[in-house]
């Protein structure tokens, strides 16, 4: 298929193939969790605590999710965000398909190497502060497909993951528990550390 300016879909395939191969060769170890500041004791004075409290309250009660769902866990997430399990109680019923408006990426489903550059790019295009929940066994370690030739063994190979939710697929209650964990983590953020 001609794309214009002399390119055709073959060149696009080759370019995308290189991007995937580079990522695959570079993503060999798990990225560290971005929560070093959880353990340290932060000296807070009056001003930072009130600002922290206000900022963190605002952030944790309206986490907007980026719809970068890939596989089966998607339908458990949809069950959670539908009227029965009602994720709106957490202010999270807004689903954003563009990373510009999202601040939480729930990676619902298996990640393959062909999809990895796209998920990494969408994550990088999200504005700080942003968080990642690795949902399901495939998100944690590749799950039932871990020894396949085309599956990334866990999202932490390409994204710094904040909360891991086991299950295949995890029940909506498990997902809500994971979100509760994330909210506790957000409460601990502080501007004193230049979060």
């Amino acid at each position: 298929m001609e794309i214009g300016s002399g390119m055709n879909s073959r060149d696009l395939d080759l370019h995308e193939g290189h991007v995937i191969e580079d990522l695959r060769n570079s993503a060999v170890a798990g990225l560290p969790e971005p929560s070093g500041w959880l353990t340290e004791e932060i000296e807070r004075n009056i001003i930072t605590t009130t600002v922290d409290k206000f900022l963190n309250w605002g952030r944790k009660t309206s986490l907007w999710t980026e719809t970068s769902f890939t596989a089966c866990c998607t339908f458990e997430f949809i069950s959670t965000s539908s009227s029965r399990f009602d994720i709106a109680r957490f202010g999270m019923e807004v689903l954003r398909s563009s990373p510009r408006h999202a601040d939480l990426m729930i990676t619902a489903g298996t990640l393959t190497w062909k999809m990895a550059p796209q998920i990494k790019r969408v994550y990088e295009q999200m504005a700080e502060p942003k968080w990642v929940i690795a949902m399901g066994a495939c998100g944690i370690s590749g799950g039932i497909f871990a020894d396949s030739y085309s599956v990334v063994p866990g999202y932490n190979r390409i994204l710094p993951v904040d909360v891991y939710i086991p299950g295949c697929p995890p029940r909506p209650e498990a997902l809500l528990a994971g979100i509760e964990l994330l909210r506790k983590k957000i409460e601990k953020r502080s501007i004193a550390k230049g979060s």
Partner: protein, 149 residues
């Protein structure tokens, strides 16, 4: 009930030059030479009384000594089915004529077999990988493909 066509009935009706390509008769299907595949397939599709106008599925198998490609054909009107099998001994350069000229449904399935097994379909409009990315080394469904990575 979808009736499986008896290959004897097919052999009797096949024209002489095509029938010579038929190699063996197995319970599951008629094994034919790659050269006569397009001819026999076109014949099965258009012959009144057979009219196998629906290509249900194509399966590629690596049987270590040869590659085998099974074509499962249905006739929706007459409600019967038939399987054609093609075997390729050449493991380095396996080539089979493509059936996209007869059935549009073959296009994606042939690309899948090319991608996962490395069998090229001559005459296919877009012979390139479908699932894996360009730059992926090897064809995973081959028995000698190194396990995992």
């Amino acid at each position: 009930m979808t009736v499986g066509l008896d290959y004897n009935r097919i052999i009797d009706v096949l024209p002489e030059d095509l029938a010579s390509g038929a190699v063996a008769f197995e319970a599951h299907g008629l094994v034919i030479q790659p050269e006569v595949l397009t001819g026999i397939a076109a014949f099965l599709k258009t012959e009144p009384g057979l009219e196998l106008d629906y290509l249900c599925s194509i399966t590629g198998v690596d049987c270590t000594e040869y590659f085998e490609v099974d074509y499962l054909l249905y006739s929706l009107k007459l409600n019967h089915r038939f399987t054609l099998k093609v075997r390729l001994a050449d493991r380095s350069e396996p080539v089979i004529p493509s059936l996209t000229g007869l059935w549009l449904g073959a296009e994606l399935q042939e690309r899948e077999i090319y991608d996962l097994l490395g069998i090229t379909f001559s005459g296919h409009p877009e012979m390139k990988r479908i699932f894996l990315w360009e730059g992926f080394s090897g064809h995973p469904l081959r028995k000698d493909y190194g396990h995992g990575h």
